[in-house]
């Protein structure tokens, strides 16, 4: 018997701590999912407070650290300024128009302060947006009776969005030139982006360069990849966030 015991590898005996750590990690993961709503609101408060006093900006990199996240679907996005930027309004309109940045700035501006809600979960409270009401540009172009929808295109060359004509005429839909009371920077979709206050933020196309009036809704970039076309905050994409507008 002595020899037999010696033959078995002593390293194969002992307490199965590895298995316990493995199962414990799985259990903690499951517990984390269950406790997440509570933990998340607590952390958002904590990190939000810390972010206000953080000169390094590192808290912004933590999950739920607050603030915007940068999403681009294109490989690289050209930069446009006051000289090079153009916004084209065409399609089923009587007067196709091309606006420069100065043209847009000369039009009456509307400022709105609402929460921004991303479909992936992050929310930035009380964000001011300022720009020209989309309905004003549509009226100026003279929308034809057969028109039903709008297709938005962007100078990143890839992103597209859509709204029904009815949605596009809402007073809380802007062609935005300013955000957080600053001119829109490149990473936030500047110099001009769409701002659809009542919908998830993917509807607010960055780097807006084209507004085409169409006879039917043509789903946008993410909508072809499974997102809802009618993206009301709290009533679409299977989410129940508090409405933003």
């Amino acid at each position: 018997m002595y020899k037999g015991v010696n033959d078995t590898d002593p390293e194969q005996r002992g307490t199965p701590v590895g298995r316990r750590v493995f199962l414990g990690t799985l259990g903690l993961g499951a517990l984390g999912v269950l406790a997440a709503p509570k933990l998340q609101s607590g952390l958002e408060g904590l990190l939000g407070g810390a972010a206000d006093q953080d000169p390094t900006g590192l808290t912004g990199l933590l999950p739920n650290g607050g603030g915007f996240r940068y999403y681009s679907v294109a490989s690289s996005v050209p930069r446009k300024n006051a000289d090079t930027y153009r916004l084209k309004v065409d399609g089923l309109v009587d007067h196709p128009t091309t606006y420069t940045l100065a043209d847009l700035k000369a039009l009456p501006q509307t400022r709105m302060v609402r929460d921004v809600q991303c479909v992936t979960g992050w929310r930035v409270p009380d964000t001011p947006f300022e720009g020209v009401r989309l309905s004003r540009l549509l009226d100026a172009a003279g929308v034809r009776p057969t028109a039903r929808a709008i297709r938005f295109t962007c100078f990143d060359g890839t992103y597209t969005e859509s709204l029904t004509l009815r949605q596009a005429r809402r007073a809380d839909v802007l062609v935005a030139l300013r955000m957080q009371d600053k001119d829109l920077g490149h990473s936030h979709g500047g110099p001009v982006r769409l701002y659809v206050a009542p919908m998830y933020f993917y509807k607010s196309a960055k780097w807006l360069s084209g507004i085409t009036v169409t006879d039917e809704v043509r789903p946008g970039y993410w909508e072809e990849r499974g997102y809802d076309v009618d993206a009301w905050v709290g009533r679409s994409n299977g989410r129940d966030d508090e409405p933003t507008s």
């Binding site: 199965p16 701590v17 316990r20 993961g29 984390g32 979960g121």
Partner: protein
């Protein structure tokens, strides 16, 4: 002359299968980490863009991540090492106590083929990978689970990703600091001298 006295001869540490399991797992984990960084860190996201492509790469690399280990279960050597990683003896307690007290002397850190730190790392990273896989699937196939679960899954996925990133950095850092350990994983063999020093209780 006994083998143990010969310090020049190498000692077999990992089989070919085990090394390939490690290699492919490392490569897939690397893809997961890099794509995650490109999705998450604003500066990298801005640099790389191509969000749809990066998401697809991340999803498939994550899905494939457990495959090498599962395939490795067919190997007797791999299963034997899993057994060694699982079992803790009294010497592992000594090792952990020394690690807690930052006692770096080899005599205070007795270890078999794997030391207690490696055992805990292996078990934790295996569990963490499966938690990432499960929460990842909940975010990917959004219609499969109730809404609250998805937000919660995102929360766990994000924070655990950060934790895994830090732990992985430690794992890689320790490998970088120990060329002989890397040689063991690269060629399958380590020097007798290294084995005696780092894994005094290992009887290969």
């Amino acid at each position: 002359m006994s083998l143990r006295a010969d310090t020049t001869a190498g000692v077999r540490r990992f089989s070919r299968t085990e090394r390939w399991v490690h290699r492919t797992t490392a490569a897939l984990m690397g893809v997961c980490v890099l794509t995650a960084a490109c999705l998450y860190v604003p500066q990298l996201a801005e640099l790389v863009g191509r969000r749809a492509l990066v998401v697809t790469l991340h999803e498939w690399a994550g899905l494939a991540l457990p495959v090498p280990v599962l395939a490795g279960l067919a190997s007797r050597a791999f299963r034997a090492d899993l057994g060694r990683l699982n079992r803790f003896g009294p010497h592992d307690r000594t090792w952990l106590r020394a690690a807690l007290h930052r006692d770096r002397r080899h005599e205070s850190r007795p270890a078999g083929k794997f030391n207690a730190g490696q055992k805990i790392y292996a078990a934790w990273i295996a569990g963490a990978t499966l938690v990432m896989l499960a929460t990842g699937l909940m975010m990917w196939f959004t219609h499969l689970t109730p809404l609250v679960w998805r937000t919660s899954a995102t929360f766990v996925h994000d924070w655990l990703a950060l934790t895994i990133g830090i732990v992985l950095a430690g794992h890689i850092g320790m490998a970088l600091a120990d060329p002989e350990a890397r040689k063991g994983m690269r060629t399958g063999e380590v020097s007798r001298e290294w084995a005696d020093r780092q894994h005094s209780l290992w009887r290969p």
